[in-house]
């Protein structure tokens, strides 16, 4: 992977948040440490009200941290005024200037440099307008635009100034699902094209999965896990993260010799043989990693349980099936196999999953 090493080498730490604390009213950020690399698309994921926006506002200079340091390329970033930091900020509701047209909004940041008429800038603006596909909107005022159009304008306004860091605060939460899907792709292409270091905040895991180079998961004002999307998705570090990334089946039990003993006596085989692992643990099994059959199948999978279907919810192409095997497990099956196997509520089934599909959650319960 030659391209990958090249990629790695280019990526120095560019923005460092070290042990940042901030108290704002009832709400606080605690011990936030993040190292964001150059050109990285970094997503901060967490439920609403966990202080994600405040992190962006600290980076942009609206607030100073109570404790901790903020470094940009090893320099103290906190000393700089917001107008000196060269960050692009896109708020959740876009915060376009209502008294200016789309064109004037986009040119706002460039006019201030005093060389608004210089060729480079007009090329930059032209490029951005094409990239965001908004030339037909240039003379309109923000209040006449749809959510998606406001969104494009806000992003164009932020990036024409070539910011060092682009900060996106829940940029898609106000869009309808269809626009959101289109926009997700565009945002990814935009990042590939410009390579601007980007910090994006969201509560939507699928959004994070699609866009992020790395994800930080936040809970109650703290960062609880940082990793690549696949790390977070496959090996969530705690029950909270597991629930957040849609890992439905989180179970508590006691670890003993390669097995986890659940309260009702069920034994689940796991692969991790960690001697440090002792006593109470939480485990998680992704619902799509469980196979449902009417008969017991003989395979290498080491976890086989008999149970009864107690609920089926149609999710469109898939169905979520809940089976009682002494405990309740959720399973995702395609609607095709649901019909083929004639699965109905009340039927007996066998649930099978591999030992390697069982994840140990190490974080707080």
């Amino acid at each position: 992977m030659a391209s990958n090493t090249l990629f790695q080498r280019r990526r120095n730490k560019i923005l460092q948040l070290q042990n940042i604390y901030k108290k704002l009213g009832n709400f606080k950020l605690e011990d936030i440490t993040l190292n964001i690399k150059e050109g990285e698309y970094f997503v901060i994921l967490g439920p609403t009200g966990t202080g994600k926006t405040v992190i962006l506002e600290i980076i942009a200079g609206l607030y100073h941290p109570d404790k901790g340091t903020l470094l940009y390329q090893d320099d103290d970033f906190d000393k700089l005024l917001p107008e000196e930091r060269k960050v692009g900020f896109v708020y959740q509701d876009y915060a376009l200037f209502p008294h200016l047209t789309v064109k004037q909004n986009i040119e706002f940041g460039i006019q201030n440099n005093g060389n608004g008429k210089s060729n480079g800038n007009s090329i930059q603006i032209e490029k951005m307008i094409n990239l965001m596909d908004i030339h037909h909107l240039m003379d309109r005022y923000p209040k006449t635009l749809s959510g998606g159009e406001q969104q494009r304008t806000a992003i164009a306004r932020a990036i024409v100034t070539s910011p060092q860091i682009l900060l996106l605060d829940e940029p898609m939460s106000a869009l309808d699902p269809q626009t959101k899907n289109v926009f997700k792709k565009e945002l990814k292409e935009l990042h590939r094209f410009l390579g601007t270091t980007t910090i994006h905040i969201t509560h939507d895991f699928t959004e994070a999965l699609y866009l992020a180079d790395r994800i930080a998961v936040m809970q109650n004002g703290r960062i609880i896990q940082v990793g690549t999307p696949s790390e977070i998705f496959r090996t969530p570090g705690s029950v909270f993260v597991a629930n957040f990334v849609g890992m439905d089946n989180v179970l508590q039990g006691t670890y003993q010799d390669g097995k986890v003993l659940l309260a009702n006596g069920l034994q689940i085989n796991i692969i991790e043989n960690d001697t440090l692992l002792n006593g109470k643990v939480s485990i998680a099994i992704r619902p799509e990693n469980i196979i449902v059959e009417k008969e017991r199948i003989h395979s290498s999978a080491r976890n086989n349980f008999k149970g009864k279907i107690i609920d089926i919810i149609d999710l469109g192409a898939l169905s979520r099936l809940t089976a009682d095997i002494g405990i309740l497990l959720n399973v995702l099956v395609t609607n095709q196999s649901l019909t083929k196997l004639k699965l109905e509520i009340g039927e007996d089934v066998w649930l099978t999953f591999k030992a390697c599909s069982v994840h140990i959650l190490r974080g707080a319960h």
């Binding site: 506002e57 942009a60 200079g61 609206l62 005024l81 917001p82 107008e83 930091r85 060269k86 960050v87 692009g88 900020f89 708020y91 915060a95 200037f97 209502p98 008294h99 706002f108 940041g109 201030n112 440099n113 306004r157 932020a158 100034t161 910011p163």
Partner: protein, 274 residues
Amino acid sequence: MAGSKTHKRQNKYFSNTIVFFIILLISFIILATSMILIRGVPNLWESLLIKEIQFAIKLSLYTSLISTFYCIVFSIPISYGLARFSFIGKSIVNTIMDIPMALPPIVSGVALLILFGNTAFGHQLADHGLKFVFTVKGIILAQFFVNVPYIIRIMKSTFHDIDPRLEFVSRTLGYNRLKTFFKVTLPLAKNGLIAGIVITWARALGEFGAALMLAGATRMKTETLPISLFLNMSCGDLKLGLASATIIIMISIVSLLIFELLGGKQYVISKEAE
């Protein structure tokens, strides 16, 4: 369904009561103002040719425009500060700013008269050419003192309603506080500012009590429209008195219309909400 009938009847009484009071008050207001307009308007043109009325109009315009200008100069930075920044003692500052609004203007006038006429500070100023007692400058100062809390209130709620994140975005785009204020905040405050100016100016035109105390009521010297009304009514010249009153009413109604057009209601509401 006897119950339903009772409800219907009571609902009808309820709305009828509201309509009754609205009509009563509206008739009263229209009746009272028309008493002046009916008598004043037919003679208006004739009155406008009288020297004394011309003097009063000119003096009223001159003093009200200057005092409104000072109200703007003071109210913009003060109200922005009070709307945006939090500091220790802010509520005390707010209350002090409102004092001239709570005082009867005539009391404000007495206070100013003593300050500028009867203290070392006042004498010092007078020695340096700033004479306020029984002068035109005194009229301007009285109007300013009485009106500045109103424009501060209007501007405060105007600035308060502007999303601070717009200013913050402007700063991330490289504008410092000052530039942001002129490029973002002030343009967004335009309607509130115009409404504030119109209402302040109209109030300055009608200012009587404080001006009377500080500047006195000297014919053809400190004779603004309301003072002229007062002087002419006192000596029984009803025709001249009504001419001044008519002009004041007409200016007041026009400025009220402008204020309403610019969303004045909004400011009054947020004033109450504070």
